[in-house]
Amino acid sequence: MKKWFAGGLLLVAVGYTIYGGSTLMLYTQSGRPAAGFFPLMIGLLLIVSCSVNLWFDVREWLQERASGSGHAHQPEPAAEGTAEALGLDTHTIDGGQEHARDVVIVFAYICGFVAALKVVGALLAMIAFMLVFLFTFDRSRPVTNIIYSLALPGFLYWLFKILLNASLPLSPLGF
C-alpha cells in the first residue's frame, strides 16, 4: 500500500504541474512572475521528490519481498523519532494488531453520513450514523446504544443549531 500511496502522490503531482502549466501564466508582460510561477516551482519540486520517494518505497518493497519479511505496521513519525531518541522499540509506542477492515467500515460510514446530511438533515443523519456505527461494533448493549444515539446528536444539534446559531442542513420534516 505504501508504494501505491507514493505512486498516487506522484500522479497527483504530475497532474497539478501539467494543469497549472497549461492554465496559468508564468510571467507577466512586464517580465514579473505571474500566478503560475510559484505553483510551477512547487509542482516541479513535488514531481522530483515524489519520484525519489516512490523509488525508495519500491526498493524497500522489493527488498522485503526478497527477504520474505514485511512491515506489519508502519510506525507514526512522532513515535518513530521518539522511540529512536529513547532507544525503545517503536512498536511499544505505536504498535499492535491492525484493524484495516474496521477502518474501511468506519470511513464508509463517514462518507454515508456526509452524503445523508443534505438529504435527511443533520439531526437524522447523526442519529443514523451513530446507530449504524454502534450496532456494527457492539451489539451486546442495544439499550445503551439507542439512548446514546439519541442523546449525543440531540445535544450537538442543540449546541450548534440553537446555542451557536450555526447553519445546519434541515430534514424534509423541518428539523
Binding site: T23, L24, P33, A78, E80, F129, M130, F160, P169
Partner: protein
C-alpha cells in the same frame, strides 16, 4: 521596559480575568485535559476539532479557550502515561519512562501531583519568558523584509521535517503538498484564479479548517481504529486524593528542585525553535537530567526526577512555541499552526505588528496563560479522580463524538457541503500520511503559511530582479540563509561523521 510589561500584563489580566474569559479558560483547560487523556489525540487534533465551537465567541475569548485546550492537553496527556503506560500524545512519551514505574511501585498519587507541579512550573516559567521575549522579538522582527520572512518560514518547515527521524524526505513532501493545496484560489499578486475548476466555492481557496480537522481529527481517529483502540476495553482505575500515599514527600521536592529549572529552560528553548517543540523538549529534558544525575541507573525504575524533567520541559516548550507565533506570526508545530489559522479566521493579521495593533488580544492571551496554569494545577491535583473516571469510557463511544464534531463542525463553518467533502478526503489522506510516515503537521503548517511564503518569495525575487541576491545581501538574511543551509546539510554531515568515526573505531579495534 519593566513598567511597560507590567502595564501590558494588567491590560491582559483585565481581559482574561473577566467572568467570560475565566469561564471559557476553565472550559478550554477542562476539555484540553480530556483531549489529552485519549491516546493518539494530541493538542493539534483537539484544537482543530473544537475550533468550530468557538465561532460564536469574540476572537480574544475564543483564542483563550483554544489556548486552554492547547496546554490543558499537555497536562492531561501525562495522566495516562503514568497510570496505564500509554502516552496521551507524543510529548508525554518521555514521562512514561519513570512515571509508569512510579505507579507500579504504588506511587501513582505522588507521581500525578509532581507532574502537575512540574507542568505548572514549566508552563509558568515559559509564560514569564514569553512576557519578556515576545515584545522584544516582535520589535526586532518589525524591521524584517520579505526575504527574512521567507527564510524563517523555510527554516521552520525544514526543521519540522528534519525532526522526523528517518522520514525527513516524506516530511518535505508533506510540506510541498500543503503549499500545493494552499495555491488553490485567487492569486494574491495578480488576482488570477488557480486550480478552482470553475467552482465558486474554491475561489476563496481550500479553507484550512476543513483540511486541518480532516488531517488531524478524522486522520488520527482512523489511525487509532487501525491500531484497535476501539476494540480495547476501558481501563477501570480508581484514585483518591484523600489517600495518605497520594501526596509527594519532602524528599521528592528536595531531590527535584533543580530539575524543575533545568527542564523548564531546556523545554522553553526547544519550544522557541521552529519545528522542535514539546516532544523533543521533553526527550532532551529527560536525557540531560539522566546525564547530570549522580545515580543515572535509577532512571527508568521509578525516579521522580525522570518524571519532573520531561513534564517541566514539555509545558515550557508549549509556552515557548507561542513566542514565534505571537512575535513573528510563524508557528513551529501543528498545534500552533491551527492556532495561527484561527487568528486569520478572526481577521487578525499575524506578525510583528500583531502585538502593536491588537495589544488586548496578545496580552489577553499571555495573561490567560498565567491564569490557565493556575487553573490547570488545581484541576490536575483535585480533579484527578474525576479525570481518571473518563478512562472508564470505552474508545468505541469516543469515536462518534469525534466524527460528529468533525463533520458538523466542518459543515457549520460556511454551510458548505463541498468543504465537508474536503474534510472527508483530508481525513483519508491524513490517515494514509500517518500510516506511511508522512507529516500531517507539516502539511497544515505549509497550508497556513503558503500564501505568505509565496508572497514573500515573489517580493524577494522582484526586489533582487530575479537574482535572489537579497537572500545574502542583507545581514539578517545572510545569517538566516546560513542557518537554513546548516539545517539542510546537518543530517548529511552527521551521517558522514558517523561513517568516518565508525570506520576509525573499527580500524582501532582491528589494530588492537
Amino acid at each position: 521596559m519593566f513598567s511597560e510589561v507590567i502595564s501590558n500584563l494588567s491590560l491582559g489580566l483585565s481581559i482574561a480575568a473577566s467572568p467570560e474569559g475565566l469561564l471559557f479558560l476553565l472550559l478550554g483547560a477542562f476539555v484540553g485535559m480530556i483531549v489529552g487523556l485519549f491516546p493518539g489525540f494530541g493538542p493539534a487534533a483537539g484544537i482543530a476539532v473544537l475550533l468550530p465551537l468557538t465561532f460564536g465567541l469574540d476572537p480574544t475569548t475564543a483564542i483563550i479557550m483554544l489556548a486552554g485546550i492547547y496546554y490543558g492537553s499537555m497536562y492531561g496527556g501525562t495522566i495516562t502515561s503514568i497510570l496505564i503506560n500509554t502516552p496521551g500524545e507524543s510529548a508525554t512519551v518521555a514521562s512514561t519512562l519513570d512515571g509508569y514505574p512510579l505507579a507500579q511501585k504504588g506511587r501513582a498519587g505522588p507521581a500525578l501531583v509532581m507532574q502537575a507541579i512540574a507542568s505548572f512550573f514549566g508552563g509558568t516559567i515559559g509564560v514569564l519568558l514569553i512576557t519578556a521575549l515576545a515584545p522584544s522579538l516582535a520589535n526586532f522582527a518589525s524591521k524584517f523584509g520579505p526575504s527574512e520572512y521567507f527564510l524563517i518560514i523555510a527554516i521552520g518547515l525544514l526543521m519540522l521535517t528534519t525532526m522526523m527521524g528517518d522520514n525527513k524526505f516524506k516530511g518535505f513532501i508533506s510540506a510541498l503538498i500543503g503549499f500545493a493545496v494552499g495555491s488553490v484560489g485567487v492569486d494574491v499578486m495578480s488576482g488570477q484564479q488557480r486550480f478552482t475548476f470553475g467552482s465558486p466555492e474554491l475561489i476563496g481557496g481550500v479553507y484550512f479548517v476543513a483540511v486541518a480537522i480532516g488531517l488531524f481529527g478524522i486522520g488520527e481517529l482512523l489511525h487509532c481504529i487501525l491500531n484497535g483502540q476501539h476494540r480495547q476495553p476501558a481501563e477501570k482505575l480508581r484514585i483518591s486524593f484523600r489517600d495518605k500515599e497520594f501526596w509527594p514527600t519532602r524528599k521528592d521536592f528536595a531531590e527535584s528542585k533543580f530539575t524543575f529549572l533545568r527542564g523548564s529552560a531546556i523545554g522553553f528553548l526547544a519550544g522557541v525553535l521552529p519545528g522542535s517543540g514539546a516532544t523533543l523538549g521533553s526527550i532532551i529534558g529527560y536525557s540531560v537530567e539522566k546525564k547530570v544525575a549522580k545515580d543515572p541507573e535509577n532512571f527508568g525504575r521509578g525516579e521522580m526526577r525522570g518524571l519532573v524533567a520531561p513534564e517541566a520541559a514539555n509545558n515550557a516548550a508549549s509556552a515557548g512555541a507561542m513566542v514565534p507565533l505571537l512575535s513573528l506570526g510563524i508557528p513551529g508545530s501543528g498545534a500552533t499552526a491551527v492556532l495561527l489559522g484561527a487568528f486569520m479566521m478572526w481577521g487578525l493579521q499575524p506578525g510583528p505588528l500583531l502585538i502593536v495593533n491588537d495589544p488586548e488580544f496578545v496580552w489577553g492571551l499571555i495573561a490567560s496563560m498565567y491564569l490557565g496554569n493556575m487553573i490547570l494545577i488545581a484541576l490536575s491535583i483535585f480533579a484527578i479522580p474525576l479525570f481518571v473516571k473518563f478512562l472508564d469510557i470505552p474508545y468505541l463511544h469516543v469515536v462518534p463524538v469525534i466524527v460528529l464534531l468533525c463533520v458538523i463542525g466542518a459543515f457549520a463553518i460556511n454551510a458548505s457541503i463541498v468543504e465537508t467533502w474536503i474534510l472527508v478526503v483530508s481525513g483519508a489522506v491524513g490517515f494514509a500520511m500517518k500510516k506511511f510516515g508522512y507529516s500531517p503537521a507539516a502539511t497544515v503548517l505549509a497550508l497556513v503559511l503558503g500564501s505568505m511564503a509565496e508572497e514573500t518569495f515573489l517580493q524577494s525575487y522582484i526586489i533582487s530582479q530575479g537574482t535572489l541576491s537579497v537572500f545574502w545581501e542583507r545581514p539578517v538574511s545572510l545569517i538566516l540563509s546560513i542557518i537554513l543551509l546548516c539545517v539542510v546539510l546537518a543530517p548529511f554531515g552527521l551521517k558522514l561523521a558517523q561513517r568516518v568515526f565508525g570506520k576509525t573505531e573499527k580500524h582501532l579495534a582491528h589494530q588492537k
